[in-house]
């Protein structure tokens, strides 16, 4: 137990703002934009929320790739709605990051100049229609697993953005499951295509939870700040636990021969994840890194005239309104 003398020594080191921040975190309350917060907390959140936003925006690309070639009008409409959702998620998150004092322009510059990271999962190509199913089922599934606890993140605007996002993500995962299920109930070739997509996306999806707990340097601090609620390995286990019965319903095989329930540990045993691949893709040497950034930069630059025209129109309208009100007076 801490003696009163020790306690006062600690108290003296903290400013009233620090004490208030610590108390709010200890009470599992929320920090809001105008509250005082430690610089490291602000920086961590800016990094995490902007990376998350970039992931949503870059995540539009592998799927928009299939909009023109979706197998039916229904699937095309669904895919368009999903890609539109990803854009929306990116915007919620950019807005949340901005409340921490970074500008949208700066975040966009970081992304298109290659200074910012985004989820490495979006650097894999999508060669077949079954990839749309695998992305929905595995990638969005992993994202939901990661994001549900983030709804309770200690930073208010981030948590609120995550609540909206999670509500919308569940449709994404279900439509992906349905695409794969329909393929699995089709011809041999279709079944093969579904299995092939699952084989390619399974491991990258498991890597989305981040490095193993003993190699995740920022995890402890993020958990102490109530930004992160569960460790990477815990979430990964939880995700695999959900996938196994779903894969059975679908009739696909998860591409891990070592995957087996272990009664003793109460967990799934699984093969080692190939982290060198993860590091490679994260370092920008994945199959589609350059392509994704190039496409984003093009979209940003080619849209410049639209932004300028809209700003100019707004300026003229405001001028006209001012002139009109002047004339009345």
């Amino acid at each position: 137990m801490t003696s009163p003398a020790d306690l006062s020594a600690v108290e003296r080191e903290r400013t009233p703002e620090e004490a208030q921040f610590d108390d709010l975190i200890a009470a599992d309350s929320r920090i809001e934009p105008r509250d005082w917060m430690p610089d490291a907390y602000r920086k961590t959140l800016i990094r995490q929320i902007s990376q998350h936003a970039h992931s949503e925006i870059i995540g539009m690309q592998p799927e928009s790739n299939w909009i023109t070639r979706a197998p039916s009008l229904k699937r095309k409409a669904i895919l368009m709605a999903k890609v539109q959702d990803e854009a929306g998620h990116g915007l919620y998150l950019y807005s949340a990051a901005q409340t921490l004092g970074i500008t949208r322009d700066e975040m966009m510059a970081q992304l298109i100049e290659g200074r910012a990271r985004y989820s490495s999962i979006f650097n894999y190509p999508t060669p077949t229609w079954a990839d749309m199913g695998a992305i929905g089922w595995l990638v969005d599934g992993a994202a939901i697993c990661n994001q549900v606890p983030l709804c309770r993140a200690s930073y208010g605007p981030y948590g609120r953005a995550m609540v909206r996002i999670c509500k919308e993500e569940s449709f994404h995962q279900r439509q992906g499951f349905e695409i794969l299920l329909e393929l699995m109930q089709g011809t041999d070739e279709q079944r093969q295509m579904a299995q092939d997509a699952v084989n390619r996306w399974y491991w990258p999806a498991l890597q989305m939870f981040g490095p193993p707990d003993d190699q995740s340097p920022n995890s402890a601090q993020s958990m102490a700040w109530n930004i992160k609620r569960f460790s990477n390995d815990e979430l990964r286990q939880r995700f695999v636990g959900m996938l196994v019965p779903q894969a059975e319903v679908m009739g696909v095989t998860l591409p891990d021969p070592a995957l087996k329930w272990n009664d003793e540990t109460g967990r799934y045993d699984m093969s080692e994840i190939d982290w060198t691949e993860f590091e490679e893709v994260l370092a920008g040497r994945g199959p589609a890194n350059a392509e994704r950034i190039r496409r984003r930069r093009e979209a940003h630059e080619e849209g410049a005239w639209v932004r300028e025209a809209a700003a100019e129109y707004a300026r003229k309208q405001a001028e006209r309104q001012l002139a009109a009100s002047g004339a009345v007076a």
Partner: protein
Amino acid sequence: MSTPGEMGTEPWPLWEVFVRANRGLSHVHVGSLHAPDPDMAVRNARDLYTRRNEGVSIWVVPADAITTSDPDAKGAFFESPAGKNYRHAVYYTKSEGVKHL
């Protein structure tokens, strides 16, 4: 710390968005967005915050038009109601058991 919408480096102003979910309910803050003018802000708000029938009406307000209480003076500013329990019905216990009170 700077407040979004106040910065010269942001080309478009920030708008706060309020959505009325149904007739009879008040507009509730749902988030914010960027737009060059009020008309575009309303259209963007429709696309961003009501893709699934979340609302029947939208308000957009320029973020820098909002005046807030000082968060640092939180305690002092909201001090007045403290210790005034008699403003709540539960303060009055003698009527317990008496009907319709």
